[in-house]
């Protein structure tokens, strides 16, 4: 059977979800943001809640998330996405609200908002994409940069005596009583994408049950910031990021 005989609408098994717009993503080739966007939208499509969901876009590489996600979106000031999401959720308690943030946004300038939103147990879902660097502004050191990792502001590697230790936001919020589901996932291989999608699905299901804040971290690559090819960056991530940021569910509801 030839490929042209297989390419028919009745044989379709996978195509880009309708909740992603047709705009070309503004991310670098191989960036995990695109996959993270897509699986989030696929979860909303599968749950049939695309019309009832409001997303909050951050500042950072994913500042234009509202251009790509074909749902209602609001763009927040730097780091303030959980605060904006709190307001939206309190005005519309029946809507699904999520924030989509990077590590420079959530773990640096937005630490207070994130921790307090999680501590209050706001019924929102936070999707946290951690690539250990400020990707948009040129690869500066972020709070999540690994010890010894090179960035444009730590060219000899992060020295923990001088620059402090990396911040594990996910472990931090898992300790708070307001969170119900805290998980760390990745999106660089098919296996990890499937697991990450499952975690995001669970986060939205728990939001539906009003269980409190759900938090999903996605460890991602930044091949431009790390100065590697996408495949090398994914390999480097497996070898260096995963020992420090171990994948798996950190807090699940009883």
């Amino acid at each position: 059977m030839l490929a042209k005989d297989i390419i028919k609408p009745e044989n379709l098994v996978y195509q880009k979800t309708k909740l992603m717009t047709d705009n070309v993503l503004s991310y670098c080739p191989g960036c995990g943001h695109g996959t993270a966007h897509r699986i989030t939208m696929e979860v909303l499509e599968e749950m049939g809640i695309g019309d009832e969901t409001i997303g909050v876009a951050p500042v950072g590489c994913s500042v234009l998330a509202y251009e790509f996600m074909n749902i209602d979106m609001q763009q927040a000031a730097h780091g303030r996405a959980p605060a904006v999401a709190t307001g939206i959720k309190r005005c519309y308690p029946e809507k699904f609200v999520f924030t989509y943030q990077g590590d420079g946004d959530l773990a640096a300038i937005g630490t207070a908002e994130t921790i307090h939103a999680c501590n209050r147990g706001e019924n929102i879902t936070i999707i946290f994409v951690n690539n250990g660097i400020y990707g948009m502004t040129g690869g500066q050191m972020a709070p999540t940069t690994l010890p010894g990792m090179r960035s444009s502001t730590s060219p000899y590697g992060r020295d923990v005596n001088l620059m402090g230790n990396p911040l594990k936001m996910t472990e931090l919020v898992a300790q708070l009583p307001g969170t119900s589901f805290v998980s760390r996932q990745a999106v660089h291989t098919p296996k990890h994408v499937r697991k990450a999608k499952k975690a995001i699905r669970q986060a939205f299901e728990l939001q539906k049950q009003k269980k409190g804040t759900t938090f999903v971290e996605i460890v991602s690559n930044c091949n431009s910031g790390w100065k590697m090819t996408p495949v090398q960056a994914n390999q480097w991530m497996e070898e260096n990021m995963f020992p420090f940021y171990p994948l798996g569910d950190i807090k699940v509801p009883e």
Partner: protein, 76 residues
């Protein structure tokens, strides 16, 4: 026994040539083209389409979501 055969369609203009799908494909269907698209990227194309099983792996790791997958049962 019925065999499962697949086929993929790649939107060459939107492909950014990140090669992640090539690494994810278990049957080495995808290769990078020597030609470039209008953005200047060497796009991915299904070079050995007869090997495709329609497993979806390339499509779900594609950051830009440019791959569409089809699958059909073929009587051997």
């Amino acid at each position: 026994m019925a065999k499962v055969k697949g086929a993929i369609v790649i939107d060459y203009e939107k492909c950014k040539g990140c090669v992640i799908c090539v690494a994810a494909c278990p049957t080495s269907v995808i290769e990078m083209a020597k030609e470039v698209n209008s953005k200047g990227y060497n796009y991915a194309y299904p070079a050995n389409i007869e090997e495709c099983t329609g497993c979806n792996n390339c499509a779900i790791v594609c950051p830009d979501g440019v791959i569409t997958v089809y699958r059909a049962k073929v009587e051997a």
